[in-house]
Amino acid sequence: MIVARKGIGSKIAHTLRWVVFIVAGVVLNLPIIMTLMTSFKTMADINTSPPPLIFSPTLDNYREVLAGGNTDLPSYILNSIVIAGGGALLAIALTFPAAYAIVRHEVGKSWLLPLITNLRAVPLIIFAIPIYLMFQLAGLLDTRTGMILIECVINIPVALVLFVGFIQDIPEEMDAAAKVDGATSLRTLWHVIVPLSRPILLAVLILSFVYGWNEFLFGLILTTKQAVPVTVGATFFVTTYGVKWGATAAAMTLGVVPPLILGLFTYPYIGKAMLTGALKG
């Protein structure tokens, strides 16, 4: 009797949990779902009130923003790919050897590591003004190179924390064996640590790419025409396109979907990055 009652109780609890999941999933993702739907609607469907949930999808909006000829969206997207990719690769090149030195040789562990991990918490606007002035003097305003440098700065804290955490877990015997064979630190790093670190290198690459892609403040301040990333470029649609909701929604979708898909592969690392960073920082 008791067993049976418990069975019903836990079944109800189980169902309630599913209800909570579905409600949370829909509410949290509502703008994404709605924008995605709008981007496949015809003008007539968009102007129908209340908005229909079932409609025959069209690709016209995508055709208009990608091949319409009167938007720069393709170049914004290309800019974002170059900037986010370059920023991610540069951050990895700078932080991976540093993480190795910090873990294995304890160089800079007491000052550099906490300094860099805490950088994450400093409001970026503080550096926006002097960097703007510096870029103006150096001729880096509105260039992809300048934006790559900025995205690299933004990615350094998380990349360093994740690398330090990962290399700490590689047994020291692995590089000791290489040392016996007379390998230098650089060779050990390249031939032993890098191959073992492939998963974390990939994770940091993707995560940094996502952060670089999503960045807005510096894109807004430092670019005007040539190097505009998609986060900034897509906001132009709202004002210039005014009533063309379908085209705007298509532009949004193209700006939002790449990091969403990449994020699905890397989100477990975010939890790790935050916890190790904060606990060891």
Binding site: W18, T38, Y100, V107, F127, I129, T184, N214, F216, L275
Partner: protein, 295 residues
Amino acid sequence: MAAQRLGVRAKERADARYFLVALCLFLALMLGFPALANLWYSFSNFSFRDLTGGSFVGLANYRQAIANPGLWSALGFSLRFGLICAAIELILGLALVFVLHPLLAKRPWMTGILMLPMMVSPALMGVMYRLILNEFTGVIPAYLEMFGRPINFLGKNNVYFTVIGIEILQWTPFAFLILLTARQTIPMELEEAAAVDGAIGVQLNTLVILPNMVPTIIIVAFIRFIDSFRVFDHIYVLTGGGPGNTTTSLSIYIYKLFFNQNVLGEAVAVSIMLLMASLAILFAGLKLAVRTRTR
């Protein structure tokens, strides 16, 4: 032999310094130099026309910055915004973890769906909300109208709550994900032992699980407060800080001083004060973290 080994280690350490050189140089150039330039600019009367010129004006910029009531209203907004958002995100995140944990353990795809919003650029999230909340063509007001109570989310009276709501909806997934990571590392034995003692449901969560998650809760609250405090993107695209200055955060305030109102010296003085304040808070946070760890 041992001395020789020690010598090798010392040499390796010296070699290892080279691995840090590139990173340190890069940071010095990209952050150290700008910070110092900022400091100099905050004491001078420079202009866009004459970046390398300008003469020393002492504390005039700081005096002007402090005397501007806009600074205090922006600071007030950022503090309130940060505290409200962090608190609500934490509560919602914890609730989701407690309710959904039994489902999520075997179904990682569910976590994937719930964390999606944090992968979206906050600026584009703002634009998307602008689309769906639009008074005339937005989807949400249209559905609400079916129930006979349309709300103008972006109107003067509601927009303050709308920007807070959007921040919470986008970043509750972050709180949820970090808290879930911590929840999943709590050993099963602990739960089983508590269950033997008769703890179930709410009791188990509040008396056994929750105390074990306190360090993570503090970390999440801290990270969320700091991130919300410096909010810029979605507010900028939704309201630009308005109407008036009701949604002007500190970041937007500095941006507007510099790029819209061209009071360069004052903007730089505010950002130096903000840098000092955040360093002080970080230092305090670091001390707190060390204390909780050694306890």
